[in-house]
């Protein structure tokens, strides 16, 4: 039993037993990060390249630590100082990295589908670290892992995802993943942020947050992408926050032991109040810690020798 493809491009293409395998493998690998010497020799001699065309702290660092804790070599290509500024195409950049014997290329790109195009033309494994508004599979797997760790399972849980569903790759990947694993998924947000036909993915759509939160086991807040959205989608940040921001009063509609999640970075006081982000229900820091184990699992599973 292994992963079927050479790449991890999205959750949509994964089967449930592949998702289960990644989560189980991550569970075994989490122990490595609790050691004094946080390193195992499993992937000595493998090379992982971080190719990030968009800013990122969490995801890039998380992949970097994951690769290093497995003893793989890792290099970060920073786009601002690379030949991309000289006009090199994405494919040429990646082809050159492959010629340097990179085994795995981790890519983040503002265009949906960029990782997929690369994967089809390269022999190296490609991991999608977020592409446009398409998918962010390792974030969704991290979120699944965190929920499973706290709740003991995924099937039957009510999970409410709140925010800009239309433009969020985190939401899209989580919807695919949670529905596949048998969770009851609700999405909430203003109509301008709700893509047409989203209900066909097996989720229920809400425009009233209190209603969407009622009886929820997990509340997943999305970051308001202030740099992407401009002002077209809602009249003001204050109004958005009033209607769709999470605070402790609102959280009372959810189950008592509901988990509060956020993929980060948090706009404190916009989509979630500071006291909730740091409160007892919040598993935001667990998500960060677990992200390393989950990315270790993905790198480990994709590094099988291709003889």
């Amino acid at each position: 039993m292994g992963l079927k493809g050479k790449d991890l491009l999205g959750i949509r293409e994964l089967e449930t037993d592949e998702i289960g395998l990644i989560l189980d493998t991550a569970e075994s690998l989490k122990e490595v990060s609790s050691r004094d010497i946080k390193k195992v020799p499993a992937l000595r001699g493998k090379t992982v390249v971080n190719l990030f065309f968009e800013p990122s702290t969490r995801t890039r660092t998380s992949f970097e630590l994951a690769a290093k804790r497995l003893s793989a070599d890792l290099l970060n290509i920073s786009i601002a100082t690379s030949s991309v500024v000289k006009g090199e195409t994405l494919f040429d950049t990646a082809k050159n990295l492959e010629a340097m014997m990179a085994d795995i290329i981790v890519i983040r790109h503002s265009s949906s589908g960029a990782p997929d195009r690369l994967a089809r033309r390269l022999k190296s494994s490609v991991i999608n670290a977020g592409d446009g508004s398409h998918e962010h599979p390792t974030q969704a797997l991290t979120d699944l892992y965190t929920i499973r760790e706290r709740k003991g399972g995924l099937s039957g849980l009510i999970v409410t995802i709140v925010g800009d569903i239309a433009h969020s790759r985190v939401a899209r990947s989580n919807i695919y993943a949670l529905v596949k694993m048998g969770a009851d998924v609700r999405v909430a947000g203003p109509p301008t942020m709700m893509p047409a036909g989203i209900d066909k993915l097996g989720v229920r759509v809400y425009h009233d947050l209190d209603e969407a939160l009622s009886g929820a086991d997990v509340v997943m807040m999305l970051r308001l992408q202030l740099e992407r959205q401009g002002k077209a989608l809602f009249p003001s940040i204050r109004e958005y926050s009033r209607l769709y921001g999470l605070n402790s009063e609102r959280l009372k509609f959810a189950k008592k032991d509901a988990l509060v999640m956020h993929p980060g970075p948090v706009n404190r006081g916009v989509e979630i109040t500071s006291d909730l982000a740091d409160g007892v229900s919040s598993v935001i820091m667990d998500q960060v810690t677990n992200g390393i184990a989950v990315r270790m699992a993905v790198i480990y599973l994709l590094s099988a020798g291709r003889a």
Binding site: M1, L21, T25, E31, P41, S303, A304
Partner: protein
């Protein structure tokens, strides 16, 4: 063709008793000892040894479970990654006397991996090796301290040790294909 029964549950029990006595004799009791079983067969054997030591010395030994997958020397040549299982060592190995336990000793490569795995967790005072079956064909300079049975085999045979089935416990040689 077919399977050959090497040890039944009685035979296994006698071997366990003898190994337990040897461990206690050599270490002058069991006070300082901890057990680490190599997943998965070694963990069953470690549990048996812990029970026997408890009977004889009245001491509950802590048992760790070690998965050696991340330390294998053939990871990069495998087409599919082996399933990872959890390593659970609920104590600090530094300055401990460790009895490392596995069901079958063969090439010695698993033990090499296990030693590296333990050393990454700390600096034990001593590591001793206990196995139920030593089937020969060593490829590394590794020898056991306690052996249930020395069993000459050919490389195409498979030795199967069952230790979690009570009266059905047994050691069997199967012809490999």
């Amino acid at each position: 063709m077919g399977n050959k029964l090497i040890m039944d549950s009685m035979g296994i029990n006698r071997a366990l008793s003898r190994i337990t006595h040897e461990i206690i004799e050599r270490n002058r009791g069991a006070q300082e000892l901890v057990l680490i079983g190599i997943r998965r067969g070694g963990v069953d054997l470690a549990n048996h040894l812990a029970r026997k030591i408890k009977e004889l010395e009245g001491i509950d030994l802590t048992i760790g479970e070690l998965d050696i997958t991340l330390y294998r020397d053939d990871l990069s040549s495998k087409k599919e990654q082996p399933i990872l299982r959890k390593t659970v060592i609920p104590f600090d190995v530094t300055d401990k006397k460790i009895i490392l336990v596995d069901d079958v000793l063969y090439t010695g490569r698993t033990i090499r991996a296990a030693l590296d795995g333990i050393m990454d967790l700390g600096r034990p005072k001593e590591i001793q090796l206990a196995v139920m079956i030593d089937r020969g064909h060593r490829e590394l300079p590794i020898r056991p301290d306690y052996v249930g049975k020395n069993l000459p085999t050919s490389r195409n045979e498979v030795v199967k040790v069952t230790l979690d089935q009570g009266d059905e416990n047994r050691v069997v040689i199967e012809d490999g294909a």
